[in-house]
Amino acid sequence: MKFRRCLFQPFYISIVILIFVSCKKEMRPIEYGKDNCEQCRMTVMNPQFGAGMLTAKGKVFAFDAGECLVRYLKSKGIKENEEYYVSDYLAPGTLIHATEAVFLHGDSIQSPMGGNLAAFNSRESALSVQQDLGGTIMDWNNLFNK
């Protein structure tokens, strides 16, 4: 009885929860102003362009722009069970899956590392911004093979 009471103490419960929570393999949001880009070492600042990846082991890397993510993957190679994220240009700070995102590439988009690249969650929103800023629309595969 004594043991059971001890087991249900909030302190122990919280530890047990913590163990289970911390074991989860999950993308965390990018901390703007704190995280450093894994590729170019710059502090990640602009929530319109921030990108991230979740490695197979559950480690999170932040990138300050989609182009940095692509450069990093080109140098390190793509592996199984990795997840890649980019920011939605129209909803700063929201991460979307890079493989499903629609990209707009054009000179008037000034992304942090000179890649002139913005990401969108749908083709419609990309088209609406394209009317304003110009540029060409591409998907993840186009981008990666460019």
């Binding site: 703007y32 102003g33 170019c40 710059m42 600042m45 700063p92 700070g93 000179g114 304003d132 800023l133």
Partner: protein
């Protein structure tokens, strides 16, 4: 003047006798005409560059009205008052001069001024409250496709971007104070150059912006005597900008002092990098840069003085590294860099590196941790100095070992390694360390 005088003498002596004299007479008349023309021209040009006084309650009470009336070369003077501006396009070569710092308020809507003409100067204004947009960068003063711009002695308060130059050739940005008020995420850069060249940035003060001064594809620019403080990211930031120089600047309390990235031929001289503290904060961050010079700078109380990655053929000479957590961090992918005649005083670690190979050159530096001797009295230590301590190598492998900092164990390891060097790098050695502080 002398010839003119002799001309008069001649004509007085013999008026119109010989053909020569007649000729002189004609010259005299023409000279008179020429002087007259010059005079008229001066008067006319004076009229041409007219001054327009903007004053509330008069015919010209707004800047917009004055711009409508102005022509190339005019001066618009603003009397002390508050004016409003939203995307005010200046497409004529005019000077906009404030008397006793009038205020131009953007009411948080958009850009304040957009300059699209060459030879424009803006002086002595207080520019307040630009808009914030996530699609287009909003600035206090935005200059596009122009040359010979002068932005002098203005105060910019609460603007997203302060001064934004896009495709500008030649200009002076001098004596401005830029005070950013926006949050980390919303703020823009204080002075932002994009595809610009030959700009002098002198004696400005930038606070509270994302980057104090930002260069992207900006070449042949000079940055001197500026103070960049408390900026969220970098005091000064170079991206793909070659052949620039910055001298006599102070970078204090920024997220990171200066970042020089993907560039070459940068001259960095006589700057101060101070108090750039933080877990990943550096006084000077060098990433993929080559053929540059870092000399006579002071790096004091930074987390890391210099951080170098992918850096080649950079010469660091005569710098002072004072009281930094880590004076120089040199990653193994840096080659052919030279460190000579620098002072390393009061740093927790003088040098750290990763990897095993290191192809850089150290020579004649002063290291306060050096405990060698100089028997032949040539002011150079007789024993070589290895700036990478064993303990710092252990931290490299096992970051949590920093827990043992300044402990007896760490001291013991370093002392033992110094006495019998076997584990530290063989080629990262100062063969002739200086015995005295280099002045």
């Amino acid at each position: 003047m002398n010839s003119l005088f002799s001309l008069f003498c001649l004509s007085k002596d013999s008026p119109g006798r010989s053909p020569i004299n007649r000729y002189w007479n004609r010259v005299k008349e023409n000279v008179g005409l020429l002087v007259m023309l010059c005079f008229i021209f001066i008067v006319v040009s004076d009229v041409f560059a007219k001054e327009i006084l903007v004053k509330p309650g008069t015919m010209v009470s707004t800047i917009q009205e004055a711009l409508k009336r102005a022509e190339n070369g005019d001066i618009i003077r603003l009397t002390k008052s508050t004016y409003f501006a939203k995307d005010l396009v200046i497409d004529k070569s005019i000077s906009l001069v404030g008397i006793d710092y009038p205020v131009v308020d953007g009411q948080m809507k958009s850009n304040l001024f957009i300059i699209k003409a060459s030879n424009v100067s803006i002086r002595g204004l207080i520019l307040k409250n630009s808009g914030v947009s996530s699609i287009k960068d909003k600035a206090g003063i935005r200059v596009e496709n122009a040359s010979q711009i002068q932005i002098i002695d203005n105060r910019l308060i609460n603007t997203c971007f302060g001064i934004y130059l896009a495709k500008v050739k030649g200009g002076i940005i001098q004596g401005n104070t830029i005070q950013g008020m926006h949050s980390i995420v919303q703020s823009g850069n204080g002075i932002h150059l994009w595809y610009s060249s030959n700009i002098l940035i002198f004696n400005n003060k930038v606070q509270g912006q994302r980057d104090g001064i930002y260069f992207e594809f900006a070449t042949h620019c000079k940055i001197s005597h500026n103070v960049c403080e408390k900026n969220h990211r970098y005091g000064l930031h170079f991206m793909f900008s070659n052949n620039d120089e910055y001298t006599f600047n102070t970078f204090r309390n920024n997220g990171c002092g200066v970042a020089v990235m993907y560039t070459k031929h940068i001259l960095m001289k006589y700057n101060r990098f101070e108090k750039n503290w933080g877990s990943s904060s550096y006084g000077l961050l060098l990433k993929d840069i080559s053929k540059s010079t870092i000399s006579n700078n002071i790096f004091s109380t930074n987390s890391s003085g210099i951080f170098m990655e992918g850096t080649n053929e950079v010469k660091a000479e005569g710098n002072h590294f004072l009281n930094n957590g880590l004076a120089v961090r040199l990653l193994a992918n840096c080659e052919k860099n030279t460190f000579q005649f620098n002072n390393f005083i009061g740093n927790t670690f003088d040098f750290t590196t990763n990897g095993t190979e290191n192809l850089n050159y150290l020579h004649g530096n002063y290291w306060d941790k050096y405990s060698g001797y100089d028997l032949n009295r040539d002011t150079k230590g007789d024993l070589p100095y290895r700036p990478v301590s064993l303990y710092s190598q252990i931290i490299e492998r096992l970051p949590s070992a920093v827990f043992l900092l300044r402990s007896f164990l760490a001291e013991l390891m370093d002392k033992a390694e110094r006495a019998l060097p076997s584990l530290t790098y063989k080629n990262l050695i100062d063969q002739e360390p200086s015995m005295h502080i280099i002045r």
